[in-house]
Amino acid sequence: MASFNTMENNVLNSLVLYKSKWFSDLVDESKLSNALMTKPHEVSTVLSYVFGRYEGNTIDFLTMGLGKTIEIESRQYEWPLMIEFDKAVDIIQAKWQGSSISSGDTPGLNQTPIQIWVRDKWFGPGAVLAFDDREYQARVTGAPYQDGEYWVYTLLVADGQADSFILPSLLSAGSKVSREGSAYEEYSEEADIVNYPTPFKLRNQLTTMRLSYDITGSAVSTVMVIAMRDPQSGKKSFLWSDFQEWRALRQWYETMDRWLVYSKYNANADGTTDLAGTNGRPVYIGAGLLQQIAPANKRYYTTLTLDILDEFLSDLSYNILGKGERKFVALTGEMGMRELDRVLRAKATGYSLVDTHFVTGSGQDLTLQGQFVTYKGLNGIQLDIKHFPFYDNTVYNRKLHPITGKPLESYRMTFIDYGMRDGEPNLIKVIRKDRGLVMWHTGGSVAPGSGHAKSISTLRSNAKDGYSVHFLSEQGLMLKDPTTSGELICDAE
């Protein structure tokens, strides 16, 4: 019996895709539509992998194809974005010797106290604060007290010198103070405090996509075969489908992938939407990849240079502190590949091209290779460049580069951080439980699997000479930390 239960990456490495006539090895259990019913997760992972590898459906490949999916039971999903654990606090007002501070004053001279008004209770007694010029430091004396909506801190110049003072400009409204450290006397009871910033919450929702197609009764039954070989046992297994079904699946996967990139969120603040379908029920659309990274780093260019690329990667890395986590995949069109190749090959001594296999490693060490061109650069930056055919498609990308006449989108470079965050992948596909890929048919004279109806007692759902197949998927994308992704966009009028 055909088997597809070992869907490890090494099995998929020896995967072959070909068109054929039906043959005896293609048993019913390995028919794609049947297999999807019995092993939905494994088989849809294989499909994502196949379409990712052979058709360029990269987002689906990077998520579903590599097993980075989660199933949820509700339409909306939220995740926290912890941007920072510490922060600089705005000075609202400052006083010295009971009066506001003017430019000629010497606040803090002779260890006299300075009062500052800030919005948050962010520091504890004994904390040493640095001003916008870090040469100037002051220590918090005692606990802060509340004055209306503000907290008042009493500070003493930290260097303890009688002739030291804080520059008045550093105490003006709008200046900031941040925690530098803390210092205490012997036998003290005081201590600095731990801050628990409220995480910024991001919310997205699943989109229900559908596709239907008809197969006529006289359609030739050519089949598409996915052959896999287990390198350990050498055993071959197959998944197969009618060629028509395969073509529809290909279109389906391509549309899903494009939608995961370009879709735009349509819910109001309360989660409802004003967009209604034919039957009057709401139509929900989730935020796609580009919308999720829209407020992240974005740089426009006309000619790509190494400086631009270097600065951009450095900006992306700014929010990632661990060097081992600086793994980016740049999705770009044919022209973007050429631009990157030109810049990196000709000038980038800091970057080295890595030889490739398709997928190596696992977990945090996962490396995308083969169809990806991988560069390793300074500061632990790894850049995988992946051709993204959607950006080249002239049907969908009609704005052209004024000089080359190629789609402008082909020059677009979308950098996604696909490293790990607290042990979890940064880019995840979210699907509704059991509704990641739903397929069914309404049979007429023919039905998939059982062929033409040969008896008057055969019950079919309609009188069509053929059958209809329906696909449905409820899915969305979650880029857990969008601050480490961004785009380089070739810009034209």
Partner: protein, 248 residues
Amino acid sequence: MIVTLRQTSRDSWSGVRRYKNCSVYLAPYLTRSGGRYTGLSREDETKLGEALRVDLSPSSEYWDTFFIRVSDSDVVIDTNTPEGELKYLFLKNHKRVANGLSDRTKPGANFVLINDDEQAKEINKRNKVKREAFREFDKLSLSDMRKCLRLFGHASDSLSNELVEQKMNELIDENPQRFLDKWVDNKFRVVEFQLEDAVSKNVIRKNRNLYQYGTEIIGRSKDEAIAFLEDVKNQDIKMAIIKEMNAK
């Protein structure tokens, strides 16, 4: 001069202008003819190029890496320095930048360049119009207000005096210039009111842009109809219209 560059639009999904520690880099872009937008005239290129000792022609490599970085706070530009002037001229006509708050509806612009002096001038100009409009409003009798409301397309006959005054106040506050144009500076306002009133009483019939009195076409647009009623030759028809209106 000090100008401020500010991002105006928030992302509709995340609700933020920019994530923390993230930036957008405004840079030159390609024009339809394949050139490069720099915002500089030939004279600017020469003058600032000499001051900065760089080649500022559009094809210069200088523009490959030129950018203005905008993060979560405003960018303040001092145009009294050559660098500041260059940035200001670059931004002034940039496709993503509106030049002043009055230009905020510019399509595709999600940044605004605010010049405090110019801004103040603009606001003062608007306020002057508003003050003038309200001065004229004070001079209106209730009967004039009702006529004026009719010109704004409101059926004022059935409204109480209080509501008429309130409605007029709202209209002027909303768009003072429109009030000046439609009433104060409109020398045909009396005839225009008569025309609108006659249409509302079905004495003159209006079919799309065609104005008819009985079987006679008096105009193919509002302006034509007003000219017809103003014409000395047509005063008998005008009198007949007024008589019929009074009878209704």
